[in-house]
Symmetry: D2
Subunit: 104 residues, 4 copies
């Protein structure tokens, strides 16, 4: 299981507002993100699950701005893939919080 962060940004659309594109990406995730857990952040979307499923849905997200008229899209994907332990979104944050409390 991997945890992946993705940001899809249209270039040259003439508007500084990205929320319509981000909302369209969220709807795409709702429709095609079966089996995945995802979370919207202020800087992108964090997705947890099988890496191949995640990359398949990210491929769809990258098309979203083109489907809404963009001619150039910049997408940044960061994969954190750990195979000696289950690294879920929840576990990763809990793990840090436990250390912060323990050493408070």
């Amino acid at each position: 299981m991997a945890v992946v962060d993705v940001t899809v940004v249209p270039i040259g659309t003439g508007t500084t507002s990205l929320s319509p594109f981000v909302a369209a990406c969220q709807r795409e995730l709702q429709q095609h993100g079966e089996g995945l857990k995802y979370e919207l952040t202020a800087m992108g979307t964090i997705i947890e699950g099988d890496l191949d499923l995640i990359l398949a849905v990210i491929r769809r997200l990258h098309e979203v701005p083109f489907n809404h008229g963009a001619k150039r899209v910049s997408t940044v994907i960061r994969i954190d893939d750990r195979r000696n332990k289950t690294g879920s979104i929840t576990q990763k944050i809990k793990s840090v919080e436990a250390r912060l409390k323990g050493e408070g």
Copy 2:
């Protein structure tokens, strides 16, 4: 005001566990992040505030793994800086959620 995402990763430490380093970075933020709002995610830390203050504290975060014995550090910083509207962490997410509801 900018919103910035930062991930600081030590290379070659011999352990796949990063939580001790992430926790140390969180403590650094608690001590030196005055005037900034920040939020831990599964993929890094999102910081909101004055860009120069943010970059100064990120400079400190980048040193944290070295202070804990690392010899090589990989840091990724993504800056989203919007100057025609206040782009806070909360506002950015609300803006997308409002669109999702409106078009539900």
Copy 3:
């Protein structure tokens, strides 16, 4: 045609030297990068070509450190996909250089 930058970094391998992993990724590209143009930089590899072919080979590159014993891998992918003009590696750089000369 897209231009994509990829960096694949093993976490927790106990060595700060990444060149064995980078070399293994280059060999993977030589064997499975048919139809693609690629270029090693000091910070990763830039690949040009059909986006689906690029993503398929990047999926392979991400496995390389695991095949060499790593238990955790951090991969960063940046896609620049422009559809109203051919955006090759060469053309992108020439385009900037032409402007620099013109305005020198």
Copy 4:
């Protein structure tokens, strides 16, 4: 000495062409990048040198699109900082090439 990759992208400018902005960033580097070595790639600029000098010039690069009318700028910075060995742009690439030849 660190090696850093930076990409500065204006959002909402109404044009998919980024070369005017990239050229303006290159001129900024020519004027304010003393003591640094830098190299334009198809995906950004790679800078080598003292980390604080690099971050200071990147702070300037981030302003360039705003000075040319942009209202929102997305900047991605990736720092590779190795302190047990000099990690220059040239040395990093040579190191991989030596391995590729040796194992050819």
